[in-house]
Symmetry: C2
Subunit: 364 residues, 2 copies
Amino acid sequence: MSKSGFRHPNRVAALRSLIQEQEIDGMLISDPHNRRYLSGFIGTAGYLFITEAEAVLATDFRYTEQAADQATGFQVSKIQGRLSEWFPTLLGDLDIKSLGFESDNLTVSGLKTFEDALAEREIEVALEPKSGDTAKIRAIKDQGEIQLLQKAIDIGDAAFEETAANLTPGMTEKEAAWEFEKAIRERGAECLSFDTIVANGPNAARPHHQTGDTKLQEGQTIVFDCGATYQGYCSDLTRTVILGEADKEVARIYNIVLEAQEVAIENVTSGITGGEADAIARKIIDEAGYADNFGHSLGHGLGLQVHEEPNVGPRGTTPLEDGMPFTIEPGIYLPGWGGVRIEDVVVLENGRARVLSHAAKMRF
Amino acid sequence: MSKSGFRHPNRVAALRSLIQEQEIDGMLISDPHNRRYLSGFIGTAGYLFITEAEAVLATDFRYTEQAADQATGFQVSKIQGRLSEWFPTLLGDLDIKSLGFESDNLTVSGLKTFEDALAEREIEVALEPKSGDTAKIRAIKDQGEIQLLQKAIDIGDAAFEETAANLTPGMTEKEAAWEFEKAIRERGAECLSFDTIVANGPNAARPHHQTGDTKLQEGQTIVFDCGATYQGYCSDLTRTVILGEADKEVARIYNIVLEAQEVAIENVTSGITGGEADAIARKIIDEAGYADNFGHSLGHGLGLQVHEEPNVGPRGTTPLEDGMPFTIEPGIYLPGWGGVRIEDVVVLENGRARVLSHAAKMRF
């Protein structure tokens, strides 16, 4: 069995440190994003078993070849027959008496299947629920990850700018969203990182508006929230667009949100908590009289998932650290009128935020 | 609270029968497809609580308006504050002492959150794992569902035929898949029902080939497995295409698969099990000498998910019934050479299979 030569040795080492701290013999990784993150294997089925000394990727016949290719350093174990056969045998081979599992991923039925397999063979292994370990490791990105994230962001930025340039009154929200999707795909993205939100006028008052058949109109705010996935990494961008003339009220509210965003980008530093970062932007919106109209978090971490650690909202207690990318996306939402949200991705480096998003913003 | 006027009264009634049989007071539905199926609500967050007398959809502020619109007959309960506040209160209001939950959907952490909420308020409610009840109800489709499925299939058929007409040697598998995706979207599909498989030549020997940069070539089998989602319903179609001339060996193997498919369509009847249906096609492939080269099931049910009940494979013990749509997709896979798979969707009506897929097949 391989003990070195991992595609991502630091990630496996970080998980092993947590395994040691928690006094378990190993971890069963079932979450697909964590499986990919730790091993490099991008197939859609399989389990990782990681102990201090060993690292095994168990998958079925469809994926064993691909797994051997991608999950360098992992021993690939072919799943054959019933779970009650391969699972206890594998635990025996790895000398595991206590196995952590990802309780945020494994279903109640899934856990029971593993427990029954052990009971059937009369093997005593403690299965211990664990939550958030790999998520915590994933919050801080390495240089390779930042490069992939930047590529996803660049694709999203270019696709948004192309789409925005072609928005016209009368086009529906759905048509606009589809133009964006085609544009990211033609630039090499695998897929959207989430369903594109295009919200025109009063629809923009709902941060999670479901893109529909409403036609874009001149003079109203159009919130365009969109992202692309590139080699697994997710971009996330929001721009607020106005077709034709923006009246004074639109420009005034837009500028409050823009100021809140720019001041937050300027002032977030490594060491403050997500909650403290959120408060920087929220103070500006509160003081402008819109305390009740910014009903979501300032931002969120992103990477292999479009929402991941750290929490950059009022309840965020995790200190922000160098190497963490996250969004900064204040907004103001006024029922019946519309909304404004402006979102960039930043990464903390040498204690300060570097902006990764480069799509143009409107200026009034 | 509403006791009638459901969007889908028969579905709720069927679940209530199962609740009664199992001697529990109610079911907590957390699976998003089951939530949609039972209530008509298509938002992405929320729980159903269904008892003999009551039906509640609990969701957060983002979705309450949409829920009231879509989930006719359900009382919409706005989730506010902590789970330990709203969950025990709701169970009290509904007079639930024993609550089934979907163990195939709820994670171990999710269950613990519910259990902790009850413990914090010192409330004794038995949370009982249940598996597969709604899935069983979903296997038989009503007329409205068959219409939506037919529409999804029609979109997929038309998009496939347009794409197939434009396939040329030198085009990559990925490019061909993207042409199909654009074609379904331009016809009103929401999205793909699964990642399109385009597998050229030797790649086609793997039933689950990951569509890549291989170029399409003349004379080789190209397996094209594709589907569209329309109003939630999933189509699924496979055609094997040959560009240019098919040599005798290609035509011979193709015709074995086609015969296996046609004979299965002709002979499946309501009342036989999925396993017996599978055996009809498998016998023909076995007798042609390819017993070891048809390494997957004959088919599967489909609806709101692309794979659902019934199991139409060697281990399928469920009797097939009128109103069940499922795929019939035999194949032969020869490592190094390629593969052939041909797939249609059928629905059982008056004891026999009616074919819903109409995309042209090659004939030799």
